[in-house]
Symmetry: C2
Subunit: 146 residues, 2 copies
DNA sequence: TTACCTGCAAACAGTTTGCAGGCCG
DNA sequence: CGGCCTGCAAACTGTTTGCAGGTAA
């Protein structure tokens, strides 16, 4: 099921309404597999729809999260980004503290271990946040040169 | 080396100064192994020192982080807490989304796997954030009753 | 005595909310 | 047509900063 379909579903089931702005914002978040901040989304939407207010972006992003279509990620310690969740794959992140470059990572071993830990402590696992911070190869080279 | 000693060291080496407020705040953060928010620390300090301003707490907490004595944790998606780091043990967290209860967890398997992933992507690992969110046994029981 | 430190209040950034009008269904 | 949605601006929250006076070294 595509994200737009999911949105339509959710909107119907909740007695909400579809709007061009909502579709528009979702489309932007889907295009390119990039994690954006609200500010960034706002800037892009504004290009084709200068009327839009940032409040609408905030409201829509939150709605998408409620609908399970998007997800919040705290990339660095004070930047909130959003990504569209795909049905089949879960991933975590490895981020360069210097240049912000990031890699999406997956690890069955870690996922399994997480489940074990949750079970051992009698927790029903709902979600997790796993971000590795480091310095990428490029940045290490650049810093040496200086 | 105790946290207070570490603070003294750091302060001397950086040309800073010790103050009763700084010691006071550190003492509170050390007492009980709890992760507190700035607001909570502020409330506690105020009891014995009503004069103190919250800005001082923010400044001190930041200083302690710079000194490597404390560490920021983003417990839930918009609450920042701080914990005193102990020299010997690293741990991550498992948090109940319902009641806020948390368990500190350690896993060699995950730590090793993280290093591997970082190495594979040519990152020099500096830090990581690993938090599991779930519902604890008590809360699951309570919810059933309702 | 010289920085540094503190409390206060003002400034800020990110996010939320109330309102009056617009639009979907 | 009713209720949700939007843009705008004002409100709010968590955090930072500038300033004038206080204090450690």
């Amino acid at each position: 099921m595509s994200a737009i379909e999911k949105l339509n579903d959710y909107v119907k089931n909740s007695g909400l309404k579809i709007s061009s702005q909502r579709n528009h914002i979702l489309k932007i978040m889907e295009s390119e597999h990039i994690h954006r901040t609200v500010e960034e989304i706002y800037d892009i939407v504004k290009k084709s729809n200068p009327e839009i207010g940032i409040a609408t972006v905030y409201r829509t992003v939150k709605l998408l999260c409620d609908a399970g279509i998007a997800k919040e990620i705290h990339m660095s310690h004070d930047v909130t980004r959003y990504e569209i969740v795909s049905d089949n794959s879960h991933h975590d992140h490895l981020i360069c503290q210097n240049c912000g470059k990031f890699v999406e990572i997956e690890s069955d071993i870690i996922e399994k271990e997480q489940s074990k830990i949750a079970a051992k402590n009698d927790f029903e696992l709902k979600d997790h946040c796993h971000i590795l911070y480091g310095i990428c190869g490029d940045c290490r080279k650049k810093n040496k040169k200086k």
